[in-house]
Symmetry: C2
Subunit: 111 residues, 2 copies
């Protein structure tokens, strides 16, 4: 035990869970916010910005890249990261669909 029973849930539910993990750690939120702010792509000066070890930042970047919310391009000896607009829109849509779903049914709450 300790393994998430992925097979019990729908594809959409699993997708949302994966996407949410991008925001489920403050370091990753900080990275995303930094990318939003600088807009221009950056590299490991996140290490300076966040105060975590280089290996740790690299690991978080990889997770964000695996989720797809971020993309990196090689630029000489550096790697530029930025937000993946397509994936961003996808995830944004998935979340607003959920959030809107409640806003639409105000009134018949029970507790």
């Amino acid at each position: 035990m300790g393994v998430t029973k992925t097979n019990l849930f729908s594809d959409v539910q699993n997708e949302i869970a994966v996407a949410a993990k991008a925001f489920a750690h403050p370091a990753r939120v900080a990275i995303i916010q930094y990318l939003l702010k600088t807009n221009a792509c950056i590299n490991g000066d996140l290490v300076q910005e966040l105060g975590l070890a280089q290996a740790t930042i690299s690991q978080h970047l990889r997770e964000l890249k695996d989720i797809g919310i971020i993309q990196g391009t090689i630029e000489g000896s550096r790697i530029s990261y930025c937000i993946n607009p397509v994936r961003w829109a996808e995830i944004s849509k998935q979340f607003s669909e959920i959030f809107d779903q409640f806003a639409a049914q105000q009134g018949d709450n029970c507790c």
Copy 2:
């Protein structure tokens, strides 16, 4: 090691991370969606719906309650759960603020 270094991040970043955890597991997504669908509050027939053990569901419900996105009221020997509208709106706002932040700056992407 293994401990999230909460002190390195801003309050908002930590709050977002906590809120995101509500959606970071498919079982919790399923619970939230079920609550959205049934609207009316429910109890442990989530056990039937989801196929996880009663103790596991109870644990997820507690996490959602700790995050505040859900609230429960005692109803005889049962407990009715439903979405907490105030907290829901809060979290919804936090996420849309992030998502909108990118939509507003289209064009100057780098990679």
